[in-house]
């Protein structure tokens, strides 16, 4: 037997992924602004799903408050653009600020157990929302637009936003990918399976969780930045809404909690559902909620998790496989 990282399938797929990324980069040059905006939304969903999965799937942390960082990212952009920074620079700064803010928050949040952590994060999001509402400079309760983006022609704006989205998504996915392949990644798996056992083996559980939490802080901040840039108008009610958490939970549960590819699948699914049911509305949300609950109860590994288990398939080489060697190959 030998231990293997790359299978033929995963080698194929990883090269395909790189090709897809390059192809995606040319999207703004090929498609009209309308479609580009939609695809930007898809990238935002992928990013959100990947980040929520990083927290819950790899860290065992169920947060219903990631919208705090989404909102901080969006309002941060408005704030820094208002200070005179060029809009896209403001976006990057806002993303960084959101991530940095997550560090002190982590010192309180990570001490909380399951439900307290979940709702505690929600309360933090509510506090952020209220603080924004109290600030007239940020548009208070009615909202504010990113007027500085008007200096760009719509096509260019959409293209830049798309490229920024692609850039963020690739960076965060890559960060997560390399994180999981590292020794850190294995210890994360151990933490997820049995935290106390992992701790007794010397794994620094708290530090690992903090890393995931802060990564998600940066990532959700990036998503918030992109949402603001993509829709141009933000208001506290929707950007800090717990609805974002609902979407993240749906994507990850249905796609596959704890797998790398699952959240991406979930994002594509949600994107498909959103484009089909453009009126949105309550029925579509009932469906989302019921599906998420059903998956939690009946199919906790999600679609990709089940596929992976049944077929032994792994498209991206995140884990290890033990392979039976053919007799000619063995040296025994």
């Amino acid at each position: 037997m030998r231990v293997q990282r790359w299978t033929r399938t995963s080698k194929l797929f990883t090269s395909a992924t790189v090709a897809i990324a390059i192809l995606l980069a040319s999207v703004p040059l090929l498609l009209e602004a309308d479609l580009v905006q939609k695809l930007t939304n898809l990238l935002i969903l992928v990013l959100l799903a990947a980040m929520w999965n990083a927290l819950a799937g790899y860290g065992g942390l169920v947060s219903i408050g990631q919208q705090a960082f989404i909102g901080i990212g969006a309002y941060g952009t408005v704030f820094f653009a208002g200070l005179g920074f060029s809009p896209y620079l403001a976006m990057v700064i806002a993303m960084l600020v959101a991530g940095v803010i997550s560090i002190p928050i982590s010192f309180l949040a990570l001490r909380l157990r399951a439900a307290q952590f979940a709702i505690g994060m929600w309360v933090i999001a509510e506090v952020a929302s209220i603080l924004v509402r109290l600030d007239q400079n940020l548009g208070a309760g009615t909202g504010i637009s990113l007027i500085q983006l008007n200096q760009y022609a719509p096509n260019f704006r959409q293209a830049f936003t798309f490229w920024l989205a692609l850039g963020f998504t690739v960076i965060f996915l890559a960060a997560l990918f390399f994180l999981l392949r590292s020794p850190l990644g294995v210890s994360l798996q151990a933490i997820r399976d049995d935290e106390d056992a992992a701790r007794s083996l010397g794994v620094h559980v708290a530090a690992r969780k903090r890393l995931l939490f802060v990564l998600a802080g940066f990532g959700c901040g990036a998503a918030g930045v992109l949402i603001g840039a993509n829709t141009l108008f933000i208001e506290p009610g929707s950007i800090f809404s717990v609805q974002w958490s609902a979407y993240m939970i749906f994507m990850v549960l249905v796609g596959g909690l704890g797998t790398f590819e699952g959240p991406i699948l979930g994002a594509i699914l949600l994107f498909g559902i959103q484009t089909t049911f453009t009126q949105g509305g309550p029925w579509y949300l009932v469906g989302l909620g019921a599906t998420a609950a059903l998956f939690a109860l009946v199919l906790p590994q999600g679609i990709w998790g089940t596929v992976e288990e049944r077929l032994g398939l792994r498209l991206l080489p995140v884990g290890y496989r033990v392979v039976e060697m053919k007799s000619e190959e063995s040296t025994a």
């Binding site: 819950a56 065992g60 169920v62 219903i64 010192f107 309180l108 001490r111 909380l112 399951a114 439900a115 307290q116 979940a118 709702i119 505690g120 929600w122 309360v123 933090i124 509510e126 506090v127 209220i130 603080l131 509402r133 109290l134 717990v242 958490s245 609902a246 939970i249 549960l253 309550p282 029925w283 949300l285 009932v286 989302l288 909620g289 019921a290 599906t291 998420a292 609950a293 059903l294 939690a296 109860l297 906790p300």
Partner: protein, 292 residues
């Protein structure tokens, strides 16, 4: 004087929060589950009472009594379909499943009733409107007194149930060690179902009070859940009387905040909640211990 008034109003508000929080506390105490759909269940109760009142013209309090059996049955269904499975599955599952349920309830309500706010304040009669002026800056409303008295009765009745009745002992036994409880003849499934039914019924009572003292709409659930949860945490998770005190503390924090600036109401409650978390879990605990 108005400061004292703020505190008094805070106590009345807090009694309301305590009733909302009671059911959440029961479910956590017995099953270690935080039901994220708790607020929505309270709102559902409000809507059921509303429908009965609109249809029959009876007083909301009477309508509640009629709605109660419906809520209890819903509680049993909830336990047997969603919660029982969640219990066996793991720590994340109940949170995720009840969160999904919350979305479902909110949007089903939205489909059946419009997003308009409603209230039962107008139907409750003199209770909603009477108040007594005690002094220049202090007034006490009849509704506030009613809710406070009901809250004390509910918590008192629960206390008696848990400490004096065999069914109450069985519930405590199951809460402490479900496996050992089974071994002495206690049907833990039945106990859990009863706990959920009880929690749902009291949540509906909270919904009734929400409808009478204020307005509600299909999306009011999450706000009630947050306040209920904050009350439970402030008072200490797993403590019944702690939940009452936590509710009162939350109410007073909110009214004192509003006293400074009406927009600070909910924020003050959140800050109190976060402060309690910091003190309880923030590592200050360590230094308090070594200081002994």
């Amino acid at each position: 004087m108005t400061f004292v008034n703020a505190v008094v109003q805070g106590i009345f508000l807090g009694a309301f929060y305590a009733v909302l929080a009671c059911g959440l506390s029961i479910m956590f105490g017995v099953m270690r589950i935080i039901n994220l759909a708790h607020g929505d269940i309270a709102v559902l109760g409000a809507y059921i009472a509303y429908v009965i009142v609109q249809g029959t013209g009876m007083s909301p309090f009477v309508a509640f009594v009629v709605a109660l059996p419906v809520m209890i049955v819903l509680g049993y269904i909830l336990q047997l379909t969603v919660l029982e499975r969640s219990l066996k599955a793991g720590i994340l599952t109940p949170l995720l499943a009840t969160f999904g349920l919350s979305i479902v309830i909110q949007n089903l309500l939205l489909l059946r009733f419009s997003p308009d706010v409603r209230s039962l304040g107008g139907n409750a009669g003199a209770v909603t409107t009477s108040s007594w002026q005690i002094t220049n800056g202090l007034s006490v409303s009849a509704l506030g007194i009613v809710i406070l008295v009901v809250a004390l009765l509910v918590f008192g009745a629960l206390q008696l149930f848990l400490s004096r009745t065999r069914a109450g002992w069985r519930m405590r036994a199951t809460a402490e060690d479900a496996d050992a409880a089974e071994l002495v003849g206690i049907d833990s499934r039945g106990v859990y179902a009863r706990a959920t039914a009880l929690a749902v019924a009291i949540a509906a009572l909270g919904g009734l009070f929400l409808a009478i003292r204020s307005v509600f709409d299909p999306l009011s659930g999450p706000t009630q859940l947050i306040f209920a949860f904050e009350a439970v945490v402030i008072g200490g998770m797993g403590s019944l009387w702690g939940t009452l005190l936590g509710g009162l503390a939350l109410g007073v924090a909110q009214t004192l905040g509003a006293h400074i600036n009406p927009e600070y109401s909910a924020l003050s409650g959140h800050l109190l909640f976060l402060a309690v978390l910091v003190v309880r879990y923030g590592g200050f605990r360590v230094s308090l211990r070594t200081a002994r």
